[in-house]
Amino acid sequence: MLAPRVIRLLEDIVGSEQVTTDSTDMLCYSYDATQQTFLPDAVVFPENAEQVSLIMKMANVENIPVFPRGAGSGFTGGSLPTKGGVVLVTSRMDRIIEIDEDNLVATVQPGVVTEQFQQAVEKVGLFYPPDPASLKFSTLGGNAAECAGGPRCVKYGVTKDYILGLQVVTPQGDIIRTGGATMKGVVGYDLTKLMVGSEGTLGIITELIIKLLPLPEAKKTMLIMFNSIDGAAQAVSAIIRGKIIPTTLEFMDAATIDCVRKATDMELPEQAQAVLIVEVDGDADLIEKQAKRILEIVQPLGVVATRVAITAAESEDIWKVRRSVSASLRNVNPDKFNEDICVPRSKVPEMIRKVDLIAQKYDIPIVNFGHAGDGNIHVNIMIDSKVADQAERAEKAIKEVFAGALALGGTMSGEHGVGNTKAPYIPMELDPAAVAYMKAIKQALDPKNVLNPGKILLEDLETIEQAKQAN
């Protein structure tokens, strides 16, 4: 509970209409896509950096935790008010301030929805490539805070590759600018890169300067079916080795194809044990050549069938196969742990084999799909949490999946971040000195630990580990 005095202070900052403590609102800002719930004590809707700054200054004086939130669509709990306190929602800061066609940069507020921004720049022939699956509803502020990825990142890179500069409110309430609208800039530490992916623990993004590209003239989509996962995985390496970097290189394993087959009327032959969705973009004649070359390269690797889209509608049909995956998984089991490990591209087949063994060992269905082109695999551990000990077995399986990815030189999260759900596993990936380095940064910038506490770095990792084991 916050003292009435604190609520009045918040009301003075943002106006009484923009602060709520109603129990219905507390419920509505208690969750995200992880389905965990933590009730806040208040929710505020500031409209500019000055208000955010005043809120952080007050939070430091009053010792109240503040949790920044965009669309609340994260998969690791990054925006959840794990310690009560105040949820700070960016939804009112939703203006595209400028699209500068001369310099190919745009300036936006953090609450702009990613797809709306993409549509706005595409209208003037420009292109913002990062395309997380949530792009229709997630915000650019949230994407930057989590350093979101997406299928197109194989060719174009992830969110951090497009953020040139930021306006940030620091945990203690100062308003700073990092980077800028220039393509080069090396004065001082690269705080932009530090902020992007810091999951709202080091500052609240209140403005973003974004790099844009010219919109590619055309694209071509292909669905290639293989008789083995090995064939598909080798095809990924072969395409890259052939000096072609497609826009997207998505794969689905046999379990995924099975789900799609059961849930939709899409034609996927029984022999298809793995599927690659390959898209190329660029000049119209160049992509024709690239598409032809790709089909030649993969042909000897056990191709069962291919579908090449000629019209936009046919391309859409192919992407429908990929998009139907998420919903069709429910037919396997009602609950899922959606992990997003990333391994070096060439290790994808080995990782898939490891995951299969783990699924057998713990007798839990695991469905794999994702961005093969950059080694980012979505490992979906499907359970029914109502069935005794399934959740426990899933926990163990997850730990082994992480260990497997790390042993192959990979990471436990390619794009979802750490939040609170992966925080306990941090010591598996980062050595103690690296954790201490990160903690030193956090402690220096946020000595009272009021900004998104308990995310990425748990204050007391040992305690959490003990708690997990006691369970």
Partner: protein, 422 residues
């Protein structure tokens, strides 16, 4: 036993919501108000909390459940197909049941059941003629759509016709001998405010040669009452319609109103029994016409048959047709019209913002949603905005008027009728 599911019966569907947030991209109300309690996953969470007794049924709950257009867009794009529109309607029934008829109920049904009060209120109203509601039966959904004391003085309301559509025709209009009989469910808005849409339907059906039955005993489909959580009235109306169409030999019942299509189609099917038998016969008239070859017939029409210059026409998707997958048919008909140039507008699939009673209680939000629609209409540079739902037509007219745009609004049927030989 009730014909309607209780909120408790939706437990399983509520459990299916994984809080992914995809509904944020679909909800016109959320996009305008940007509060989590207005979007589907918020409403589902609130409904669940009520069932679990974590939240009380208070004014806030009533407000939250009122802030839904029932357009079904969130369901349409939900990865787990959580039927939030149905959950909201069940929540509204819960409100009516537990608190007696409150916000929705007390206001709306109160007006319906006390015609004297109605008349007094009507006399004070500035938009309605003093005799307006005398023309409309007690149970018409129009009374729910326009509860006078709550109607904003600012809203553009269509004129109410002196002679309701159904009184203009006999029960049976003959057609070609080899064509099966088709029945027409007119709905309230066509009967009372847009009889010209009904006239157009008659003309088009005549052109196609289908004999048309217009049962005089039919009434309101019940959707406005359903949206208000008023089970009793829904059942009363549904019974009357089942009786009205029971004697009918028609195997097909056409509607020219997207909301009625949902009302007597989808919702009667959900109610089961005799209601479902009627519901199963329901087809949107535009889909019926395309299935029966009208596109080809229109393409054969001589251009000279169309009086006037080339018309630039755009189309607004009514939510109640779009979520049923009826989007291609109206466009195919418009494209086939001689002298018509069809253009897509940006955001054709976005809700117009009417949402039946929603616009009555939340006119400001409704108008904001409508103004975004108007932006797309302006950019399309069309002469005419066509649609397939009188409710949408009314809202579009309102939005166009407020934006000071020159477009006229028309039902697709009217544009077809204009092209046909006399």
């Amino acid at each position: 036993m009730s014909n309607h599911k209780k909120l408790e019966d939706f437990r399983q569907e509520i459990d299916k919501c994984v809080k992914c947030g995809a509904c944020q991209a679909q909800c016109a109300v959320y996009k305008t108000l940007k509060r989590e309690s207005t979007v589907a996953r918020g409403k589902v969470a609130i409904a669940e909390a009520l069932l679990d007794k974590d939240l009380p049924l208070n004014d806030r709950f009533v407000l939250d459940m009122s802030q839904c257009l029932l357009c079904g867009s969130c369901y349409d794009k939900c990865p787990n197909l959580v039927p939030t529109d149905e959950i909201v309607m069940a929540a509204r029934r819960e409100i009516a049941e537990r608190q007696g008829l409150t916000t929705f109920g007390k206001v709306l049904t109160g007006v319906i059941k006390r015609p004297k009060l109605m008349e007094t209120l009507v006399k004070g109203g500035q938009f309605f003629g003093p005799f307006l509601f005398k023309k409309i039966p007690d149970h018409s959904g129009l009374r729910l759509r326009f509860p006078v004391p709550f109607i904003s003085q600012d809203r553009a309301i269509p004129e109410f016709s002196d002679q309701p559509f159904r009184s203009r025709y006999p029960e049976l209009i003959p057609g070609d001998d080899d064509k099966p009989l088709v029945a027409f469910f007119t709905g309230c808005m066509i009967n009372y405010t847009y009889p010209e849409v009904g006239e157009a339907l008659v003309k088009v059906m005549r052109f196609m040669g289908f004999p048309l039955q217009i049962p005089q005993a039919q009434g309101c489909c019940g959707l406005p009452a359903l949206a208000a959580g008023d089970e009793e009235t829904v059942d009363l109306l549904a019974d009357a319609n089942v009786d009205a169409f029971a004697a009918d030999k028609a195997e097909v019942v056409v509607t020219a109103c997207a909301s009625c299509h949902a009302g007597i189609g989808k919702h009667y099917r959900d109610m089961g029994g005799d209601y479902a038998v009627l519901g199963d016969k329901v087809v949107d008239v535009l889909k019926f016409l395309v299935d029966n070859g009208l596109v080809e017939k229109l393409q054969q029409l001589n251009h000279k048959d169309y009086k006037g210059e080339t018309l630039r026409v755009t189309y607004h998707d009514p939510c109640h047709l779009r979520t049923q997958g009826i989007t291609a048919e109206p466009r195919a008909l418009l494209r086939a019209l001689p002298g018509v140039e069809f253009v897509e507008m940006e955001g054709a699939d976005r809700c117009c913002g009417l949402g039946g009673t929603f616009s009555v209680y939340h006119y400001d939000t409704s108008r904001k949603i409508g103004s975004r629609k108007a932006d797309g209409i302006a950019a399309s540079q069309a002469d005419v905005v066509a649609s397939a739902c009188p409710g949408c037509m009314m809202q579009l007219q309102d939005s166009i008027q407020h934006a000071g745009l020159p477009q006229r609004v028309s039902h697709v049927l009217q544009l077809i009728a204009e092209c046909l030989p006399e």
